[in-house]
Symmetry: C2
Subunit: 475 residues, 2 copies
Amino acid sequence: MKEQYVCSFLISLIGEDWIFFFLLGLFMGLTSWAMELGIIMLQKGQKWIYGRLDSNGFLQYLGWVGYSVALIMFSAGFTQIVSPQAAGSGISEMKTILRGVLLKEYLTFRTFVAKVISLAFALGSGMPLAAHSLNVFMYMYYCMLNESRYREMLAAACAVGVGCVLAAPVGGVLFSIEVTFTFFAVRSYWRGFFSVTIAAFFFRVLAVWYKDEETVTALFRTHFQVDFPFDLKEIPAFAFLGIISGFGGALFVYLNRRIAQFIKKQKLFNTFLMKKCLVYPVMVTFLISSLLFPSGFGQFMAGELTQNEALVTLLDNRTWTKDGIAEEFDYIGNARVWMHPQVTVFGTLALFTIMRFWMCALAITMPVPYGAFMPVLVIGAGLGRLVGECMAFWFPDGIHTGHAIYPIVPGGYAVVGAAALSGAVSHSFSTVVMVLELTGQISHLLPALIAVVLANLVAQSLQPSIYDSIIKIKK
Amino acid sequence: MKEQYVCSFLISLIGEDWIFFFLLGLFMGLTSWAMELGIIMLQKGQKWIYGRLDSNGFLQYLGWVGYSVALIMFSAGFTQIVSPQAAGSGISEMKTILRGVLLKEYLTFRTFVAKVISLAFALGSGMPLAAHSLNVFMYMYYCMLNESRYREMLAAACAVGVGCVLAAPVGGVLFSIEVTFTFFAVRSYWRGFFSVTIAAFFFRVLAVWYKDEETVTALFRTHFQVDFPFDLKEIPAFAFLGIISGFGGALFVYLNRRIAQFIKKQKLFNTFLMKKCLVYPVMVTFLISSLLFPSGFGQFMAGELTQNEALVTLLDNRTWTKDGIAEEFDYIGNARVWMHPQVTVFGTLALFTIMRFWMCALAITMPVPYGAFMPVLVIGAGLGRLVGECMAFWFPDGIHTGHAIYPIVPGGYAVVGAAALSGAVSHSFSTVVMVLELTGQISHLLPALIAVVLANLVAQSLQPSIYDSIIKIKK
């Protein structure tokens, strides 16, 4: 009896799955980290050009927009030439495969290479796109190599793809299950958790070594007070945020589908597109990039910030206004761009949210590889921050009735908004876990949960999820 | 088209499910809170008697043990008379029902009443048992009332049961899915999340109102440093903790099954039990309670602490020893009982872990309603703390090589140990989320994830989960 135990234990230790997932996790951690480095360098390039051409406004504009357009052109062109299937988010394809359609031509090494290169350039261009599709795909590709049981392994595949990039391992596993599966075999859980842990570990270890960080902490760490993160009387405000996020999420999906269908229907436009496949992405990039130009309209909507920078500032634990006037304290670095002398903080936040909203819905119709999750998260954070700043304006001394004064924390609203809007767009609840992992603080769990549940109730009754919507469009 | 949307939205808002789950969540929040109050009062009663009989050691012992025995006798007797099916954890029954066996005689109002009353007394007795089974059952009962689609609703049922008591809503949903389902329909997710949110909200609101707490925070809030929670070089220690937790978890399941089978096999003993069903629980309670007696052997293993008190002290963010000698700083309240002049902190922690380990495995063979999750969590925290204190002893200045000195945080090891051992016993990964929710800090996510994955790898290859094991025994 005992020998049998020892035997089965040893087999499970050195079994194929174990080593397979270890290597996959390791590989994913390494690749994500390398990708991240490349993207950050490309994003810095645009800022560097912008800074160097300071003397001439028009040249500066040309440099800013030209850089984005060039990168997107390269990205779209490379995708088109090497493997047109590489375009799009990986999750819709994943869903299709899980429903029984084996997209063999999709899971090839060609597509893999196209994804890696194109994605890096598309993200480097500063468009509101994000990175999780690549990893999903890569993982799927490796699962295909091990074809005999690739279906079993897709759970792990998707989990690592999402979890690794966002540095949110648990949230990644849960999110991937929610967005791709209809029925989920609980016994596959361990595969996901195992590989995601390995991947997250190596990803973070590399970050520590490379950046000389002291140790592994959350990606977008917040510093909210933990003793009194929010008052119970603020719950209606969080619930309200959840409901408008729900409507916002549905609107996002609707808008994206209408844009995509509009382009499909325009016959003249479409035949033109067939011949010159680069025209559409160039047009879109030109429009978005022009609006984001920091010395132009971009100054009213924090256009110079990359998505990650914007998210960090939105999660700031201080209130930006007092009685409607921008506070005068030392803004660490990037937060300063939200304070525009003509437009108040409310104006920049509202513009940021609204403009990025349609920009993102437009950008993900481009034929390049992309992920839609992160941009939506950032937009949600903007929306939440706006509600939070309004709350802080209406209740400058907080709404706690006891002796101590606890001011409203608009950053907490940003966390809740991010979870709610991304949850509404993707029809998933695990964004709660993901956002809490990203910020490294769990203090706003209850409001986030309430907002995400309400946002899902609203969004699910109005529109399909963004991934289902994309599948519909492609049909 | 739009009218259709509005219509379907309104229906989804006022639809049966929505209101049903709202009311269930509300009811569960209220009942859990009332139960908690009752249990705390009963537990205080034992301490009060112990304090009053201070003058006479023997009388004190009689009072301490007698109190436990009386409560367990009442609990077991009440269960036996009103509904013998009420005994045991709810999760094994849940699994059985989900596998297609409809335990109709189990899901009755009689059993429900028996569960409520017996559980309160069993937990009040100070035995290493916990409370989640009641809620699972209650929920199941209500699902049965709505019989036509009760299967769909079991997801929500189990989620609320676990999540509510532990004040860990997300972890509760995930844990319940892992331990009860084989295949899970993702579309049922929202039910679980929705009711658990409602329940958690009301449970916490009541706690704030009743206890005059300032606002809703984590149940066992930790205060670890967030800037540098752990060093990367500590990861092997966390991994080691995970592996021994895995073996510990398997041993726990094995021990519990052997005890249960031993009792079943003893024919003489068994016929005796049949006639006097109270003899066995009284014997077990007498043994455990005698060992826990605070002036006797209990002083070496923190016997006077209830489980919740013990967990709070184990998660303390300070190191208890310096160079192996107990630190002299002001111990807030309960932490002082770990410092025994004859036995070092290492001794009390080791004794606590080992003694509670077999006590818990023994206690859950009693024919009373119980939950095994919380006691195992506390034992895991003790094991983790022991490893952590050893690490702090071996590396008094931490193992960080930079300029700053970051001492080892043994409380972090307690968190990781709690997640790993409970994960190993129940074969689930979501204990990570649950423990982080309980402590309100997410800083130890990565070590906890690594430890839980390793613990699961080991435990799953050696033994079935405790719930499957109980099902096997009952067959």
